[in-house]
Amino acid sequence: MQTSVSIRDLSLSFGNTRILDKLNLDIEQGEFIVLLGPSGCGKSTLLNCIAGLLDIDDGEIHISGRNVTWAEPKDRGIGMVFQSYALYPQMTVEKNLSFGLRVAGFGKAEIQERVQRASEILQIQPLLKRKPVELSGGQRQRVAIGRALVRDVDVFLFDEPLSNLDAKLRSDLRVEIKRLHRKLKNTMVYVTHDQIEALTLANRIAIMKEGEIQQLANPHTIYHKPVNLYVAGFIGSPSMNFLQGAIQHESGANDPLFVTDSGLRIPLAGYPFAEAPDAGLPAVLGVRPEHINIADDNRPLPFQQQVEIDIVEPMGSETLVWTQIAGQTITFSCDSDVLVEPGQTVTIGFDPVRASVFDRESTLRL
């Protein structure tokens, strides 16, 4: 299958700051890729480079099989949606949608037809005669998407399109973007710092840090098998618990053990190591709060431990509990119907198969 967007050795500096350094990325036809990372990680910069809004220092960009490294934004076959909507305030919705087409010199009938089709897909026909100031945030973002839609492009670029909306509207439009992708089957590149958006929308997520892609994988893999400590800590809310310790081998047993710094032994039976780790290797054990449960006598967990509850945070759908294991603070979540109190002692446990073990030195997954 031909790639839709290919980026080869892309480098970009602002002054002396290297933003992107020899970055490579291949995006399949019709794929929904989310670039996820904290602010300043270079994700928006990368998107602007793909769009041609920033001149790059080195590398190549191919879109739909054409080398567009030196092409103007309009000649790249892309449409872009911005965080601040960037609607032309003095034009009506209709004029906003058709601006690109009018600049390109399309005929009246063609423009009419395309605007009609886009506004049908986005259900904004009643708004066509209005100006942007008369629209709500969600409507404005729809129009902004429509502006990309009318141009009939191969690749859609979204630059944090939902960040300016309130939580309710955000989740509504999120579903709508997903629906749009199912319908149009275009390639979409979507920049966000919101991991929920990334996990819900993406076919694959590229997690970025300091201009480098840390992991490029589907949401399930990103969540369950993070490649390094950074990805593990970034994805998931509440974030993953990390226990400091080392790998030990027990004589007679096949599976290695994780021994915390204070000496607590956690068996790693069934943990899918990439390759058998050396004994004594300093390591970090990562367990998601939602993978730790209060022990149930009927279904014992491979690792169990008695702990004293420190703080309880009810969150409505679940309750987040703060406690300590082997002298290190951890959190776990439990059903909000389970009543727990600070000071109470409970037995909690988890299955190490669902945990992640990282090399403390290289921070990579073992």
């Binding site: 809004l53 103007e72 960037a86």
Partner: protein, 310 residues
């Protein structure tokens, strides 16, 4: 498992528990407030006094003025003759056509110079804030520096330059001079305005395929109306009130109203017609005054229009 349920505290009775203030605070007239208003009124009177003297003097007959009555008194009999004279028959040297030709010249100079300077400054500001070409910061630095150069330093070189170009004392020369001297402040105005717009608007224009001029005329100019109002007011009043450049560069054929007014007032033959002078001065000042009165609200709105969100 111990479960303590916190009972809500007994609700307060609906009638008031304590005496004391309730509801919106009362407006009080304090000494400070009286002081402020007193000062403002006195200041306003102070600045209005000359206007009053000019007005009443311009409506008095010459004999009444020469009698030496009180400067502030209302005229015994009102005459509009000085206004008519000032407009159409007051003499500057042998030329006895009043202020009329000066008015027309001023209108021409102000209109052309305002439009030209604002157009160039808007393009400057737009290019400086969005296109970030090489040396853009240097260009901007030089322009801002230009705002601090005293006029007198540049006048002689300008005169020489105009002479060498063969346009000294012509209509283009006065327009060019006003354009040059308006450029730093106007560019600054437009650059700051365009910088306050979301840069995505410009990016969206580029993705839509618009070039330098299309983005400028179809997206930016319609958005720049508030700041353009400010620029027009600044230039209009500035150029209209200008005397120095008008004297030096405009030449006899395009002498602006201010220069003509000066010539009328300075004419030394015969008796000094104070009433005509006052009327002429007020006629000359009428245009900027009208601009301020009509556009005051717009001016404030334009200055305040920093963040225009789309």
């Amino acid at each position: 498992m111990t479960q303590t349920i916190v009972q809500p505290e007994a609700t307060a009775p609906l009638d008031r528990v304590l005496s004391g203030p309730r509801g919106p605070r009362k407006q009080q007239i304090t000494m400070a407030r009286i002081g402020i208003y007193g000062f403002l009124i006195i200041a306003a009177l102070f600045f209005l006094t000359p206007l009053w003297v000019m007005l009443v003097t311009s409506l008095k007959t010459l004999p009444e003025i020469r009698e030496g009555g009180n400067l502030f008194y209302w005229p015994r009999e009102i005459t509009f003759e000085p206004w008519v004279q000032a407009w159409s028959s007051a003499c500057t040297g042998r030329d006895c056509r009043g202020l009329q030709p000066g008015f027309i010249n001023s209108v021409k100079i102000t209109a052309v110079a305002t439009v030209v300077s604002i157009l160039i400054a808007a393009i400057n500001g737009y290019a400086l804030s969005f296109w970030r070409y090489r040396y853009a910061n240097l260009v901007f630095g030089i322009l801002v520096f230009g705002a601090f150069v005293p006029y007198q330093v540049v006048i002689y070189p300008l005169v020489v330059a105009m002479r060498e170009m063969g346009i000294f004392g012509t209509f283009p020369s006065i327009v060019i001079v006003h354009t040059i001297f308006g450029m730093p402040i106007l560019t600054l105005l437009y650059r700051n305005f365009f910088s306050s717009l979301p840069p995505e608007l410009f990016k969206a224009g580029r993705v839509d395929g618009a070039g330098f001029w299309q983005i400028f005329f179809r997206i930016m100019v319609p958005m720049a109306v508030p700041i353009t109002v400010v620029a027009v007011i600044l230039q209009l009043t500035g150029i209209w009130n200008d005397f120095l450049f008008g004297t030096i560069f405009a030449g006899r054929a395009h002498m602006p109203m201010t220069v003509q007014l000066n010539n009328i007032v300075q004419t030394t033959t015969g008796i000094r017609e104070y009433n005509v002078h006052m009327a002429a001065t007020m006629l000359t000042a009428a245009v900027p005054l009208a601009v301020y009165f009509i556009s005051g609200k717009w001016f404030v709105r334009g200055i305040a229009a920093g963040a225009v969100k789309g």
